[in-house]
Subunit: 307 residues, 2 copies
Amino acid sequence: MISIAIHGGAGVILRENLSPEKETAYIHALTETVRTAYAALENGASALDAVELAVKLMEDSPLFNAGRGSVYNAEGKHEMDAAIMSGSDLSAGAVALVNRVKNPVSLARAVMEKSNHVFLAGAGAEEFAVKAGIELANKDYFHDEFRFQQWQKINGTNAAKLDHDVSLNEKKFGTVGAVALDTSGNLAAATSTGGMTNKLQGRIGDSPLIGAGTYANNQTCAVSCTGHGELFIKHVVAYDVHCLMYYKGMSLAEACNYVVNQKLTEAKAEGGLIAVDRFGNVALYFNTPGMYRAMKTPSEEYTAIFK
Amino acid sequence: MISIAIHGGAGVILRENLSPEKETAYIHALTETVRTAYAALENGASALDAVELAVKLMEDSPLFNAGRGSVYNAEGKHEMDAAIMSGSDLSAGAVALVNRVKNPVSLARAVMEKSNHVFLAGAGAEEFAVKAGIELANKDYFHDEFRFQQWQKINGTNAAKLDHDVSLNEKKFGTVGAVALDTSGNLAAATSTGGMTNKLQGRIGDSPLIGAGTYANNQTCAVSCTGHGELFIKHVVAYDVHCLMYYKGMSLAEACNYVVNQKLTEAKAEGGLIAVDRFGNVALYFNTPGMYRAMKTPSEEYTAIFK
Protein backbone atom coordinates (compact mmCIF):
# COMPACT_ATOMS: atom_id res chain seq x y z
CA MET A 1 0.00 0.00 0.00
CA ILE A 2 1.28 3.44 -0.90
CA SER A 3 -0.49 6.70 -0.29
CA ILE A 4 0.09 10.43 -0.66
CA ALA A 5 -1.83 13.59 0.20
CA ILE A 6 -0.93 17.23 -0.33
CA HIS A 7 -2.34 20.62 0.58
CA GLY A 8 -1.77 24.10 -0.78
CA GLY A 9 -3.31 25.99 2.13
CA ALA A 10 -6.72 26.39 3.72
CA GLY A 11 -8.84 29.48 4.16
CA VAL A 12 -11.78 31.57 3.18
CA ILE A 13 -11.63 30.94 -0.53
CA LEU A 14 -14.56 32.74 -2.11
CA ARG A 15 -15.75 31.09 -5.26
CA GLU A 16 -16.68 34.43 -6.83
CA ASN A 17 -13.09 35.59 -6.44
CA LEU A 18 -11.57 32.53 -8.04
CA SER A 19 -11.82 32.87 -11.81
CA PRO A 20 -12.40 29.69 -13.79
CA GLU A 21 -8.88 30.06 -15.20
CA LYS A 22 -7.33 30.28 -11.72
CA GLU A 23 -9.39 27.40 -10.44
CA THR A 24 -8.25 25.29 -13.36
CA ALA A 25 -4.64 26.28 -12.71
CA TYR A 26 -4.86 25.23 -9.05
CA ILE A 27 -6.60 21.94 -9.83
CA HIS A 28 -4.00 21.21 -12.49
CA ALA A 29 -1.05 22.05 -10.21
CA LEU A 30 -2.41 19.97 -7.32
CA THR A 31 -3.24 17.00 -9.54
CA GLU A 32 0.12 17.05 -11.32
CA THR A 33 1.95 17.33 -7.99
CA VAL A 34 0.16 14.43 -6.36
CA ARG A 35 0.54 12.26 -9.47
CA THR A 36 4.25 12.97 -9.76
CA ALA A 37 4.87 12.16 -6.11
CA TYR A 38 2.69 9.06 -6.32
CA ALA A 39 4.61 7.83 -9.35
CA ALA A 40 7.83 8.27 -7.40
CA LEU A 41 6.41 6.14 -4.57
CA GLU A 42 5.36 3.51 -7.12
CA ASN A 43 8.94 3.46 -8.37
CA GLY A 44 10.21 2.77 -4.86
CA ALA A 45 10.91 6.29 -3.61
CA SER A 46 10.82 6.66 0.16
CA ALA A 47 8.01 8.59 1.84
CA LEU A 48 10.65 11.17 2.74
CA ASP A 49 11.63 11.59 -0.92
CA ALA A 50 7.99 11.77 -1.99
CA VAL A 51 6.97 14.49 0.46
CA GLU A 52 10.09 16.53 -0.32
CA LEU A 53 9.35 16.21 -4.05
CA ALA A 54 5.70 17.21 -3.66
CA VAL A 55 6.54 20.22 -1.51
CA LYS A 56 9.32 21.30 -3.89
CA LEU A 57 6.92 21.24 -6.82
CA MET A 58 4.52 23.51 -4.93
CA GLU A 59 7.37 25.75 -3.71
CA ASP A 60 8.37 26.19 -7.34
CA SER A 61 4.85 27.24 -8.35
CA PRO A 62 3.91 30.92 -7.96
CA LEU A 63 0.37 29.77 -7.14
CA PHE A 64 1.22 28.78 -3.57
CA ASN A 65 2.50 30.82 -0.61
CA ALA A 66 5.78 28.94 -0.19
CA GLY A 67 9.11 29.17 -1.95
CA ARG A 68 8.63 31.14 -5.16
CA GLY A 69 5.12 32.37 -4.28
CA SER A 70 5.93 33.56 -0.76
CA VAL A 71 4.19 36.65 0.62
CA TYR A 72 5.89 39.83 1.88
CA ASN A 73 6.45 40.55 5.57
CA ALA A 74 6.06 43.97 7.24
CA GLU A 75 9.53 44.99 6.01
CA GLY A 76 8.67 44.08 2.41
CA LYS A 77 10.88 41.01 2.60
CA HIS A 78 10.29 37.30 2.20
CA GLU A 79 10.81 35.00 5.17
CA MET A 80 10.20 31.34 4.55
CA ASP A 81 9.88 28.41 6.97
CA ALA A 82 9.81 24.65 6.35
CA ALA A 83 10.06 21.31 8.13
CA ILE A 84 10.34 17.64 7.24
CA MET A 85 10.06 14.56 9.46
CA SER A 86 10.60 10.85 9.01
CA GLY A 87 8.22 8.54 10.85
CA SER A 88 10.65 5.63 10.91
CA ASP A 89 13.11 7.11 13.40
CA LEU A 90 11.57 10.50 14.25
CA SER A 91 14.47 12.25 12.57
CA ALA A 92 13.49 15.78 11.65
CA GLY A 93 14.80 18.99 10.15
CA ALA A 94 13.39 22.50 10.11
CA VAL A 95 14.35 25.98 8.98
CA ALA A 96 12.84 29.41 9.57
CA LEU A 97 13.28 32.96 8.32
CA VAL A 98 15.29 32.13 5.22
CA ASN A 99 14.96 34.44 2.23
CA ARG A 100 17.29 33.27 -0.50
CA VAL A 101 16.83 29.50 -0.47
CA LYS A 102 14.99 28.23 -3.55
CA ASN A 103 13.48 25.22 -1.78
CA PRO A 104 13.26 25.62 1.99
CA VAL A 105 12.02 22.01 2.33
CA SER A 106 15.27 20.72 0.87
CA LEU A 107 17.24 22.86 3.31
CA ALA A 108 15.15 21.38 6.14
CA ARG A 109 16.07 17.93 4.89
CA ALA A 110 19.76 18.88 4.79
CA VAL A 111 19.52 20.11 8.40
CA MET A 112 18.03 16.72 9.28
CA GLU A 113 20.64 14.67 7.46
CA LYS A 114 23.81 16.77 7.54
CA SER A 115 23.80 18.65 10.86
CA ASN A 116 23.61 17.71 14.52
CA HIS A 117 20.65 20.03 14.90
CA VAL A 118 16.93 19.87 14.11
CA PHE A 119 16.10 23.55 13.73
CA LEU A 120 18.16 26.36 12.18
CA ALA A 121 16.89 29.88 11.55
CA GLY A 122 17.89 33.09 9.82
CA ALA A 123 21.41 33.89 8.68
CA GLY A 124 22.77 30.75 10.37
CA ALA A 125 20.38 28.60 8.35
CA GLU A 126 21.48 30.31 5.13
CA GLU A 127 25.16 29.86 5.97
CA PHE A 128 24.44 26.20 6.49
CA ALA A 129 22.58 26.13 3.14
CA VAL A 130 25.67 27.41 1.35
CA LYS A 131 27.91 24.82 3.04
CA ALA A 132 25.43 22.02 2.31
CA GLY A 133 25.27 22.98 -1.38
CA ILE A 134 21.58 23.92 -1.31
CA GLU A 135 20.39 25.92 -4.32
CA LEU A 136 19.91 29.64 -3.67
CA ALA A 137 17.77 32.11 -5.59
CA ASN A 138 17.88 35.88 -5.81
CA LYS A 139 15.20 38.41 -4.87
CA ASP A 140 13.80 38.58 -8.40
CA TYR A 141 12.98 34.88 -8.27
CA PHE A 142 10.67 35.48 -5.30
CA HIS A 143 9.13 38.70 -6.62
CA ASP A 144 5.54 38.39 -7.61
CA GLU A 145 3.48 41.43 -8.55
CA PHE A 146 0.33 40.03 -6.95
CA ARG A 147 2.09 39.33 -3.65
CA PHE A 148 3.70 42.76 -3.73
CA GLN A 149 0.32 44.46 -4.23
CA GLN A 150 -1.11 42.33 -1.43
CA TRP A 151 1.57 43.63 0.88
CA GLN A 152 1.30 47.25 -0.24
CA LYS A 153 -2.38 47.16 0.49
CA ILE A 154 -1.91 46.49 4.20
CA ASN A 155 1.60 47.81 4.80
CA GLY A 156 1.60 50.55 7.42
CA THR A 157 -1.26 48.95 9.30
CA ASN A 158 -0.66 46.61 12.22
CA ALA A 159 -2.47 43.82 10.49
CA ALA A 160 -0.70 40.61 9.71
CA LYS A 161 -2.87 38.69 7.31
CA LEU A 162 -3.17 35.12 6.23
CA ASP A 163 -2.98 35.86 2.56
CA HIS A 164 -6.61 34.95 1.96
CA ASP A 165 -7.69 37.77 4.27
CA VAL A 166 -6.40 40.42 1.92
CA SER A 167 -9.36 41.79 0.06
CA LEU A 168 -8.16 41.88 -3.51
CA ASN A 169 -10.10 40.60 -6.44
CA GLU A 170 -7.97 37.53 -6.61
CA LYS A 171 -6.88 35.77 -3.47
CA LYS A 172 -4.08 33.33 -2.78
CA PHE A 173 -3.55 31.11 0.22
CA GLY A 174 -0.75 30.17 2.62
CA THR A 175 1.33 27.06 3.25
CA VAL A 176 1.92 23.86 1.34
CA GLY A 177 2.41 20.37 2.73
CA ALA A 178 2.61 16.68 1.96
CA VAL A 179 2.26 13.38 3.81
CA ALA A 180 3.07 9.94 2.46
CA LEU A 181 3.29 6.22 3.16
CA ASP A 182 5.85 4.25 1.13
CA THR A 183 6.17 0.59 0.14
CA SER A 184 8.40 -0.09 3.18
CA GLY A 185 5.67 1.11 5.52
CA ASN A 186 7.47 4.33 6.39
CA LEU A 187 5.58 7.56 6.92
CA ALA A 188 6.85 11.11 6.34
CA ALA A 189 5.50 14.67 6.49
CA ALA A 190 6.71 18.01 5.16
CA THR A 191 5.39 21.57 5.32
CA SER A 192 6.61 24.85 3.80
CA THR A 193 5.31 28.40 3.99
CA GLY A 194 5.97 32.00 3.10
CA GLY A 195 4.15 33.09 6.26
CA MET A 196 1.57 35.84 6.68
CA THR A 197 1.48 38.99 4.56
CA ASN A 198 2.79 41.96 6.57
CA LYS A 199 3.76 39.76 9.55
CA LEU A 200 6.34 41.19 11.91
CA GLN A 201 9.90 40.46 10.84
CA GLY A 202 11.10 37.35 12.67
CA ARG A 203 7.66 35.81 13.19
CA ILE A 204 7.72 32.01 13.09
CA GLY A 205 4.45 30.11 12.66
CA ASP A 206 3.52 26.47 13.19
CA SER A 207 4.81 25.10 9.87
CA PRO A 208 8.47 24.53 10.89
CA LEU A 209 7.66 23.46 14.44
CA ILE A 210 7.85 19.70 14.92
CA GLY A 211 4.63 18.64 16.66
CA ALA A 212 2.73 21.82 15.77
CA GLY A 213 2.60 22.07 11.95
CA THR A 214 4.51 18.93 11.02
CA TYR A 215 4.82 15.44 12.58
CA ALA A 216 5.38 11.85 11.50
CA ASN A 217 5.60 8.61 13.47
CA ASN A 218 5.38 5.11 11.94
CA GLN A 219 3.37 3.96 14.95
CA THR A 220 0.47 6.18 13.96
CA CYS A 221 0.47 8.80 11.21
CA ALA A 222 2.09 11.66 9.32
CA VAL A 223 0.49 15.12 9.55
CA SER A 224 0.94 18.50 7.83
CA CYS A 225 -1.11 21.51 8.92
CA THR A 226 -2.21 24.82 7.43
CA GLY A 227 -4.03 27.64 9.17
CA HIS A 228 -3.71 30.30 11.83
CA GLY A 229 -0.18 29.42 12.95
CA GLU A 230 -0.28 31.01 16.38
CA LEU A 231 -3.31 28.97 17.41
CA PHE A 232 -1.92 25.81 15.83
CA ILE A 233 1.24 26.25 17.94
CA LYS A 234 -0.73 26.55 21.19
CA HIS A 235 -2.69 23.41 20.36
CA VAL A 236 0.37 21.40 19.22
CA VAL A 237 -1.92 20.20 16.47
CA ALA A 238 0.12 17.63 14.53
CA TYR A 239 1.35 15.80 17.63
CA ASP A 240 -2.16 15.93 19.09
CA VAL A 241 -3.42 13.79 16.21
CA HIS A 242 -0.68 11.25 17.01
CA CYS A 243 -1.54 11.25 20.72
CA LEU A 244 -5.25 10.74 20.13
CA MET A 245 -4.42 7.70 18.01
CA TYR A 246 -1.61 6.34 20.18
CA TYR A 247 -2.99 7.03 23.65
CA LYS A 248 -6.75 7.02 23.01
CA GLY A 249 -6.90 4.42 20.27
CA MET A 250 -8.77 6.67 17.85
CA SER A 251 -8.65 5.99 14.13
CA LEU A 252 -6.96 8.53 11.87
CA ALA A 253 -10.33 9.95 10.78
CA GLU A 254 -11.62 10.16 14.35
CA ALA A 255 -8.49 11.91 15.57
CA CYS A 256 -8.38 14.40 12.69
CA ASN A 257 -12.09 15.11 12.91
CA TYR A 258 -11.88 15.69 16.66
CA VAL A 259 -8.87 18.01 16.42
CA VAL A 260 -10.12 20.08 13.47
CA ASN A 261 -13.88 20.14 13.93
CA GLN A 262 -14.01 20.14 17.72
CA LYS A 263 -10.84 21.45 19.40
CA LEU A 264 -9.71 23.93 16.76
CA THR A 265 -13.22 25.06 15.87
CA GLU A 266 -14.01 25.70 19.56
CA ALA A 267 -10.74 27.65 19.84
CA LYS A 268 -11.71 29.67 16.73
CA ALA A 269 -8.54 28.39 15.10
CA GLU A 270 -9.17 28.40 11.38
CA GLY A 271 -7.36 25.97 9.15
CA GLY A 272 -6.95 22.34 8.33
CA LEU A 273 -4.61 19.42 8.03
CA ILE A 274 -3.80 16.44 5.88
CA ALA A 275 -2.73 13.11 7.31
CA VAL A 276 -2.00 9.53 6.33
CA ASP A 277 -1.83 6.56 8.68
CA ARG A 278 0.33 3.44 8.56
CA PHE A 279 -2.39 1.57 6.68
CA GLY A 280 -2.46 4.20 3.93
CA ASN A 281 -5.74 5.79 4.98
CA VAL A 282 -5.88 9.49 4.08
CA ALA A 283 -7.59 12.28 6.03
CA LEU A 284 -8.21 15.77 4.65
CA TYR A 285 -9.90 17.93 7.31
CA PHE A 286 -10.48 21.68 7.49
CA ASN A 287 -12.91 24.03 9.22
CA THR A 288 -12.67 26.79 6.58
CA PRO A 289 -14.74 27.07 3.39
CA GLY A 290 -11.91 25.54 1.40
CA MET A 291 -8.53 23.85 1.38
CA TYR A 292 -6.43 23.27 -1.72
CA ARG A 293 -5.89 19.53 -1.55
CA ALA A 294 -5.27 16.33 -3.43
CA MET A 295 -4.63 12.68 -2.60
CA LYS A 296 -3.82 9.45 -4.40
CA THR A 297 -3.80 5.81 -3.35
CA PRO A 298 -3.91 2.63 -5.46
CA SER A 299 -7.70 2.81 -5.45
CA GLU A 300 -8.50 6.52 -5.36
CA GLU A 301 -7.46 9.87 -6.76
CA TYR A 302 -9.04 13.12 -5.66
CA THR A 303 -8.39 16.85 -6.09
CA ALA A 304 -10.55 19.63 -4.65
CA ILE A 305 -10.60 23.20 -3.39
CA PHE A 306 -14.00 23.73 -1.81
CA LYS A 307 -15.95 21.64 0.70
CA MET B 1 -2.75 25.39 47.35
CA ILE B 2 0.23 27.09 45.73
CA SER B 3 3.28 25.38 44.37
CA ILE B 4 6.49 26.21 42.51
CA ALA B 5 9.40 24.26 41.07
CA ILE B 6 12.49 25.44 39.23
CA HIS B 7 15.43 23.90 37.42
CA GLY B 8 18.84 25.23 36.43
CA GLY B 9 19.69 22.50 33.93
CA ALA B 10 20.34 18.76 33.98
CA GLY B 11 23.43 16.85 32.96
CA VAL B 12 26.48 14.88 33.88
CA ILE B 13 27.44 16.90 36.92
CA LEU B 14 30.51 15.25 38.42
CA ARG B 15 30.75 15.77 42.14
CA GLU B 16 34.54 15.91 41.98
CA ASN B 17 34.35 18.85 39.60
CA LEU B 18 31.96 20.84 41.72
CA SER B 19 33.91 22.58 44.48
CA PRO B 20 32.18 22.95 47.84
CA GLU B 21 32.07 26.71 47.24
CA LYS B 22 30.38 26.29 43.86
CA GLU B 23 27.94 23.75 45.22
CA THR B 24 27.02 26.13 48.02
CA ALA B 25 26.56 28.94 45.51
CA TYR B 26 24.17 26.84 43.39
CA ILE B 27 22.18 25.60 46.37
CA HIS B 28 21.91 29.16 47.64
CA ALA B 29 20.83 30.57 44.26
CA LEU B 30 18.22 27.85 43.73
CA THR B 31 16.82 28.14 47.24
CA GLU B 32 16.64 31.92 47.14
CA THR B 33 14.96 31.84 43.74
CA VAL B 34 12.30 29.34 44.74
CA ARG B 35 11.62 31.16 48.03
CA THR B 36 11.28 34.53 46.31
CA ALA B 37 8.88 33.18 43.71
CA TYR B 38 6.92 31.28 46.36
CA ALA B 39 6.59 34.42 48.47
CA ALA B 40 5.22 36.21 45.42
CA LEU B 41 2.62 33.46 44.97
CA GLU B 42 1.71 33.76 48.67
CA ASN B 43 1.15 37.46 48.12
CA GLY B 44 -1.27 36.74 45.31
CA ALA B 45 1.03 36.86 42.30
CA SER B 46 -0.21 34.88 39.30
CA ALA B 47 1.55 31.68 38.26
CA LEU B 48 2.63 33.59 35.16
CA ASP B 49 4.25 36.33 37.27
CA ALA B 50 5.90 33.74 39.52
CA VAL B 51 7.51 31.73 36.72
CA GLU B 52 8.68 34.89 34.97
CA LEU B 53 10.19 36.14 38.24
CA ALA B 54 11.96 32.85 38.98
CA VAL B 55 13.39 32.60 35.48
CA LYS B 56 14.52 36.25 35.55
CA LEU B 57 16.41 35.66 38.79
CA MET B 58 18.24 32.73 37.22
CA GLU B 59 18.84 34.64 33.98
CA ASP B 60 20.45 37.39 36.06
CA SER B 61 22.81 34.92 37.76
CA PRO B 62 26.07 34.05 35.99
CA LEU B 63 25.76 30.54 37.44
CA PHE B 64 23.17 29.43 34.91
CA ASN B 65 23.30 29.10 31.10
CA ALA B 66 20.57 31.64 30.37
CA GLY B 67 20.54 35.42 30.20
CA ARG B 68 23.73 36.70 31.78
CA GLY B 69 25.45 33.28 32.00
CA SER B 70 24.74 32.23 28.39
CA VAL B 71 27.32 30.17 26.51
CA TYR B 72 29.04 31.13 23.24
CA ASN B 73 27.94 29.76 19.87
CA ALA B 74 30.28 28.73 17.02
CA GLU B 75 30.68 32.38 15.99
CA GLY B 76 31.67 33.43 19.50
CA LYS B 77 28.30 35.10 20.00
CA HIS B 78 25.45 34.65 22.43
CA GLU B 79 22.08 33.49 21.14
CA MET B 80 19.35 33.13 23.72
CA ASP B 81 15.93 31.51 23.54
CA ALA B 82 12.97 31.60 25.93
CA ALA B 83 9.27 30.77 26.19
CA ILE B 84 6.40 31.31 28.60
CA MET B 85 2.91 29.83 28.62
CA SER B 86 -0.26 30.36 30.61
CA GLY B 87 -2.32 27.27 31.41
CA SER B 88 -5.55 29.21 31.83
CA ASP B 89 -6.04 30.15 28.18
CA LEU B 90 -3.06 28.51 26.44
CA SER B 91 -1.66 31.95 25.61
CA ALA B 92 2.04 31.70 24.92
CA GLY B 93 5.05 33.74 23.87
CA ALA B 94 8.49 32.68 22.70
CA VAL B 95 11.69 34.22 21.39
CA ALA B 96 14.84 32.77 19.83
CA LEU B 97 18.28 33.93 18.77
CA VAL B 98 18.28 37.20 20.70
CA ASN B 99 21.63 38.53 21.90
CA ARG B 100 21.08 41.87 23.58
CA VAL B 101 17.97 41.30 25.66
CA LYS B 102 18.71 41.22 29.40
CA ASN B 103 15.81 38.92 30.23
CA PRO B 104 14.62 36.83 27.28
CA VAL B 105 11.74 35.42 29.37
CA SER B 106 10.30 38.93 29.76
CA LEU B 107 10.55 39.46 26.02
CA ALA B 108 8.70 36.16 25.53
CA ARG B 109 5.98 37.46 27.82
CA ALA B 110 5.78 40.71 25.87
CA VAL B 111 5.38 38.73 22.63
CA MET B 112 2.54 36.85 24.32
CA GLU B 113 0.79 39.95 25.63
CA LYS B 114 1.64 42.71 23.17
CA SER B 115 1.86 41.10 19.72
CA ASN B 116 -0.43 39.03 17.52
CA HIS B 117 2.26 36.39 17.30
CA VAL B 118 3.54 33.59 19.54
CA PHE B 119 7.10 33.22 18.31
CA LEU B 120 9.57 35.89 17.18
CA ALA B 121 13.23 35.27 16.40
CA GLY B 122 16.43 37.14 15.66
CA ALA B 123 16.58 40.78 14.63
CA GLY B 124 12.79 40.95 14.39
CA ALA B 125 12.47 39.84 18.01
CA GLU B 126 14.96 42.50 19.09
CA GLU B 127 13.17 45.21 17.13
CA PHE B 128 10.01 44.18 18.91
CA ALA B 129 11.89 44.29 22.24
CA VAL B 130 12.84 47.90 21.63
CA LYS B 131 9.27 48.86 20.74
CA ALA B 132 7.89 46.99 23.76
CA GLY B 133 10.31 48.76 26.11
CA ILE B 134 12.15 45.59 27.13
CA GLU B 135 15.49 46.18 28.89
CA LEU B 136 18.53 45.59 26.71
CA ALA B 137 22.09 44.83 27.80
CA ASN B 138 25.39 45.21 25.99
CA LYS B 139 27.94 42.54 25.13
CA ASP B 140 29.97 43.11 28.29
CA TYR B 141 26.99 42.19 30.41
CA PHE B 142 26.92 38.73 28.84
CA HIS B 143 30.69 38.21 28.83
CA ASP B 144 31.86 35.61 31.27
CA GLU B 145 35.47 34.45 31.28
CA PHE B 146 34.53 30.87 32.12
CA ARG B 147 32.02 30.66 29.27
CA PHE B 148 34.54 32.23 26.89
CA GLN B 149 37.19 29.66 27.83
CA GLN B 150 34.62 26.90 27.42
CA TRP B 151 33.97 28.07 23.88
CA GLN B 152 37.63 28.59 23.00
CA LYS B 153 38.32 25.03 24.03
CA ILE B 154 36.04 23.51 21.40
CA ASN B 155 35.90 26.27 18.81
CA GLY B 156 37.15 25.05 15.44
CA THR B 157 35.82 21.58 16.06
CA ASN B 158 32.40 20.51 14.78
CA ALA B 159 31.27 19.72 18.27
CA ALA B 160 28.30 21.51 19.75
CA LYS B 161 28.28 20.77 23.43
CA LEU B 162 25.74 20.91 26.16
CA ASP B 163 27.88 22.97 28.46
CA HIS B 164 28.39 20.12 30.90
CA ASP B 165 30.14 18.13 28.20
CA VAL B 166 33.04 20.54 28.06
CA SER B 167 35.88 18.99 29.97
CA LEU B 168 37.08 21.82 32.11
CA ASN B 169 37.77 21.59 35.79
CA GLU B 170 34.58 23.38 36.58
CA LYS B 171 31.42 22.61 34.70
CA LYS B 172 28.23 24.57 34.23
CA PHE B 173 24.92 23.44 32.88
CA GLY B 174 22.31 24.60 30.36
CA THR B 175 18.78 25.97 30.61
CA VAL B 176 16.66 27.33 33.42
CA GLY B 177 12.96 26.88 33.94
CA ALA B 178 10.04 27.30 36.32
CA VAL B 179 6.51 25.93 36.74
CA ALA B 180 3.89 27.17 39.18
CA LEU B 181 0.32 26.86 40.45
CA ASP B 182 -1.26 30.01 41.88
CA THR B 183 -4.08 30.64 44.34
CA SER B 184 -6.58 30.98 41.48
CA GLY B 185 -5.74 27.49 40.25
CA ASN B 186 -3.87 28.71 37.21
CA LEU B 187 -0.75 26.96 35.97
CA ALA B 188 2.17 28.49 34.07
CA ALA B 189 5.55 27.41 32.72
CA ALA B 190 8.64 29.27 31.51
CA THR B 191 12.02 28.19 30.12
CA SER B 192 15.12 30.14 29.09
CA THR B 193 18.48 29.09 27.70
CA GLY B 194 21.77 30.25 26.27
CA GLY B 195 21.91 27.13 24.10
CA MET B 196 24.85 24.80 23.47
CA THR B 197 28.47 25.92 23.51
CA ASN B 198 29.79 26.16 19.93
CA LYS B 199 26.38 25.40 18.43
CA LEU B 200 25.87 26.47 14.82
CA GLN B 201 24.66 30.04 14.49
CA GLY B 202 20.89 30.03 14.20
CA ARG B 203 20.31 26.74 16.03
CA ILE B 204 17.07 26.67 18.00
CA GLY B 205 16.57 23.99 20.66
CA ASP B 206 13.49 22.78 22.51
CA SER B 207 13.32 25.53 25.16
CA PRO B 208 11.34 28.14 23.15
CA LEU B 209 9.16 25.59 21.36
CA ILE B 210 5.66 25.35 22.82
CA GLY B 211 4.97 21.66 23.40
CA ALA B 212 8.62 20.61 23.25
CA GLY B 213 10.47 22.43 26.07
CA THR B 214 7.60 24.42 27.56
CA TYR B 215 3.88 23.76 28.02
CA ALA B 216 1.06 24.64 30.42
CA ASN B 217 -2.62 23.69 30.50
CA ASN B 218 -4.91 24.14 33.50
CA GLN B 219 -6.60 20.85 32.69
CA THR B 220 -3.43 18.92 33.52
CA CYS B 221 -0.03 20.44 34.26
CA ALA B 222 2.77 22.92 33.54
CA VAL B 223 6.11 21.56 32.29
CA SER B 224 9.61 22.96 31.67
CA CYS B 225 12.33 20.78 30.17
CA THR B 226 16.13 20.71 30.08
CA GLY B 227 18.34 18.37 28.12
CA HIS B 228 19.43 17.40 24.63
CA GLY B 229 17.20 19.84 22.75
CA GLU B 230 17.14 18.09 19.38
CA LEU B 231 15.83 14.88 20.93
CA PHE B 232 13.37 16.74 23.14
CA ILE B 233 11.95 18.41 20.00
CA LYS B 234 11.43 15.06 18.23
CA HIS B 235 9.64 13.68 21.28
CA VAL B 236 7.49 16.80 21.86
CA VAL B 237 8.29 16.18 25.52
CA ALA B 238 6.29 18.81 27.42
CA TYR B 239 3.06 18.23 25.50
CA ASP B 240 3.58 14.48 25.81
CA VAL B 241 3.30 14.76 29.59
CA HIS B 242 0.00 16.61 29.13
CA CYS B 243 -1.32 13.98 26.70
CA LEU B 244 -0.44 11.07 28.96
CA MET B 245 -2.40 12.72 31.75
CA TYR B 246 -5.29 13.99 29.62
CA TYR B 247 -5.76 11.08 27.23
CA LYS B 248 -4.41 8.15 29.29
CA GLY B 249 -5.46 9.32 32.75
CA MET B 250 -1.96 9.02 34.21
CA SER B 251 -1.02 10.99 37.32
CA LEU B 252 1.62 13.71 37.02
CA ALA B 253 4.27 11.42 38.53
CA GLU B 254 3.33 8.50 36.29
CA ALA B 255 3.41 10.65 33.15
CA CYS B 256 6.74 12.31 34.00
CA ASN B 257 8.34 9.04 35.04
CA TYR B 258 7.19 7.33 31.84
CA VAL B 259 8.42 10.14 29.59
CA VAL B 260 11.80 10.65 31.28
CA ASN B 261 12.75 7.18 32.47
CA GLN B 262 11.20 5.14 29.68
CA LYS B 263 10.69 7.06 26.43
CA LEU B 264 13.60 9.48 26.68
CA THR B 265 15.97 6.97 28.23
CA GLU B 266 15.22 4.44 25.48
CA ALA B 267 15.83 7.18 22.90
CA LYS B 268 19.15 8.02 24.61
CA ALA B 269 17.81 11.52 25.17
CA GLU B 270 19.57 12.87 28.23
CA GLY B 271 17.88 15.46 30.37
CA GLY B 272 14.99 16.08 32.66
CA LEU B 273 11.93 18.13 33.39
CA ILE B 274 10.02 19.79 36.17
CA ALA B 275 6.25 19.85 36.34
CA VAL B 276 3.39 20.82 38.59
CA ASP B 277 -0.21 19.65 38.26
CA ARG B 278 -3.48 21.44 39.03
CA PHE B 279 -3.50 19.99 42.54
CA GLY B 280 -0.07 21.43 43.31
CA ASN B 281 1.82 18.15 43.06
CA VAL B 282 5.41 18.64 41.95
CA ALA B 283 7.49 16.29 39.77
CA LEU B 284 11.25 16.60 39.28
CA TYR B 285 12.47 13.89 36.89
CA PHE B 286 15.81 13.43 35.11
CA ASN B 287 17.80 10.56 33.62
CA THR B 288 21.20 12.22 34.12
CA PRO B 289 23.38 12.09 37.25
CA GLY B 290 22.09 15.46 38.32
CA MET B 291 19.68 18.32 37.78
CA TYR B 292 19.87 21.67 39.52
CA ARG B 293 16.42 21.91 41.07
CA ALA B 294 14.28 23.26 43.86
CA MET B 295 10.60 23.24 44.81
CA LYS B 296 8.36 24.72 47.45
CA THR B 297 4.77 24.04 48.51
CA PRO B 298 2.95 24.90 51.76
CA SER B 299 4.20 21.64 53.26
CA GLU B 300 7.57 21.06 51.64
CA GLU B 301 10.77 22.81 50.56
CA TYR B 302 13.54 21.02 48.74
CA THR B 303 16.73 21.95 46.88
CA ALA B 304 19.16 19.47 45.32
CA ILE B 305 21.70 18.92 42.57
CA PHE B 306 22.51 15.21 42.55
CA LYS B 307 20.23 12.17 42.57
